[in-house]
């Protein structure tokens, strides 16, 4: 037997070798690009964040943790963190909640609901920069349609409300130019753009909820719609929620287009909308302060990776809360 098997074994091992060689041949381009485009830049940013390098300079000095020190001590960067986290903390829950709400309503309406689905998805498809410019027009303090509409309230009962009363007396807010409103307007547009995406993900999640679960709940005496949602729908949507929250967080962290369109210089009134992506762009690219830009990049990567790892951990534990 062994005599007959030997050549077969040799042939299979040759076969295995050949397959391994082809496999490496097929993966090499992807591997090379992964290293060059994704991993090398992370290392480069890590190294440069300890230097005072500028493009065009032939040499640079090692400055240790000075760049990180600055990030944590200067008030500009404090504003950067406040703006970024305010944006994330507002946009993520609101767009997830609206996405879920819209999905539940659309789903309960059957085929007619599809019209709303189409409409709510439009902002996801549209070029955000173009839509930001439209919003800017609409929010224009004098000729913008929003303040023109608000002015219609003047002279009516609405003036009794403080917001309208003050607006009619002293003019309605400047919106994008007003440091008290700027970040909230930015958040609003973030929600406007993103909740349709969450809705669609939830709609996909809802198709996976088994009908029997509702029947079973009814058998057990669950009558009200709220109880049905709390006991059946919400737990079944657990994995979808984990995913929707993570992807919303990552997208919210990366907000840039609207900030650059509204405030090309300096990140808004009193730096109230100076988000991290804009800071990387302004410091690193425009002002050529690559050390500090790289330090922000590294912090940014830490946040994003941390979020994704939490998500993977939750998914692996198959959390149904």
């Amino acid at each position: 037997m062994a005599v007959i098997d030997a050549p077969v074994a040799a042939r299979t091992s040759r076969e295995v070798n050949r397959q391994a060689r082809t496999a490496w041949g097929l993966t090499t381009p992807a591997l090379a690009l992964m290293f060059l485009i994704l991993l090398v830049p992370v290392v480069v940013a890590g190294v440069l964040s300890f230097t005072n390098y500028s493009l065009g300079n032939s040499s640079f000095d090692w400055v240790g943790f000075k760049n990180y020190d600055r990030l944590l001590s200067r008030s500009t960067y404090e504003k950067m963190f406040i703006a970024t986290f305010t944006y994330v903390v507002v946009v993520v829950p609101v767009s997830v909640a609206l996405g879920l709400g819209a999905a539940l309503l659309v789903n309960s309406l059957g085929r007619i609901g599809d019209v709303y689905k189409t409409i709510y998805f439009l902002p996801v498809m549209a070029t955000l920069l173009a839509m930001a410019i439209v919003w800017e027009f609409m929010l224009h303090p004098t000729i913008g349609v929003i303040n023109q509409t608000l002015e219609l309230s003047c002279g009516t009962f609405l003036e009794a409300i403080r917001f309208f009363g003050n607006g009619c007396a002293d003019g309605f807010p400047l919106w994008l130019g007003d440091r008290d409103y700027a970040i909230w307007v930015l958040c609003f547009i973030g929600v406007w753009q993103g909740f349709g995406f969450n809705m669609v993900l939830y709609l996909a999640g809802l198709t996976g909820v088994h009908r029997e679960l509702y029947h079973a709940a009814e058998m057990d005496g669950v009558k009200s719609a709220w109880e049905r949602f709390r006991l059946v729908t919400w737990p079944a949507l657990g994995p979808t929620t984990v995913f929707v929250v993570t992807i919303s967080c990552i997208r919210a962290f990366q907000v840039f287009d609207t900030v650059e369109a509204f405030w090309p210089q300096g990140g808004g009134p009193n730096k109230s909308t100076y988000v991290m992506m804009f800071a990387i762009f302004e410091k690193g690219v425009q002002q050529n302060l690559i050390g500090i830009g790289s330090a922000i990049t590294m912090l940014f990567l830490v946040f994003v990776m941390f979020l994704t790892l939490i998500q993977r951990w939750l998914v692996e534990r198959k959390v149904h809360y």
Binding site: A130, F197, T240, F256, T297
Partner: protein, 320 residues
Amino acid sequence: MTRDIWKHLILVIGAIIVLAPFYMMLSYSFKSPGEIDRGTGGFFGRQEMMVDERCVQLRDPNRDEIAAAAPQYPGKSDREIRDAIMEEAAVACAMRPVVFNYTKAFIEAPLLRYLLNGVIVTVSIFVIQVLVALPAAYALAKLKFWGREAVFGLVLFCLLIPVHAIALPLYIILAKVGLTNTYAALVVPWTISVFGIFLMRQFFMTVPDDLIDAARMDGMTEFAIVWRVMLPTAVPALLAFAIFSIVAHWNDYFWPRIVVTGSRDLFTPPLGLREFKGDADGSFFGPMMATATIIVTPLIVAFLVAQRRFIEGITLTGMK
């Protein structure tokens, strides 16, 4: 039934807020500057003839032109001749606001060039992504080789790195190599789609081994199997991935903003619109909105036509 009415009411209010900017964009792109300033004219504007000031200025005759035109206006002073010519110019330059806005959009900036650049960039990104990702995904899904787990682990790790986040070091590297302000700079960072590899691998896992064995029996090389057997089976997944990729890169503003600084020749549509905004005075709101409409329209129309596929494509990221 009454419950449904409440649902519709809530959803309609939502729809109005979502659609408002689209409505305003279209409406502004139809209106004359005056109507935009005053906020009058309804959706389409009144479409009264308006005079294009810049066009009239261009026809303002100089001395030689007045002298040349003199025989046509016998017995008139130079001043009267100029007035007559300007009057003719005003007539010739009169047009409907909607025509004015949309022609200006194409004339004031090389919008066609921008659109072409957008197509070139998005299409090359997608093609290269597929050329790189498909073989790797096939190897990871169907070939046994030493180190496969490590490669797949690397893919999973790289999924953690958003390309936008490492834009600064990428920009520095490209600047060092001297590639900024080229098509290559716009395309290169996106050539590797780790997500694409992951997605195609998951898809190939579901393809039966018999299909591949049969192809091997027929004497096909592994390379041929990737393109002649696996590619055709992967068409639905590839279509979804194409939509995902094209929507992301047609709309991308951050990366082009970083690597294209000088020449308008390389501007993608969002960059072109941004520049338009930079030097626009009040009277150019109309043409700018026309530009915005032109840039947004292709994807919106495609979406409305093939809605299901688009939603599938965009929500691909939802696959685990």
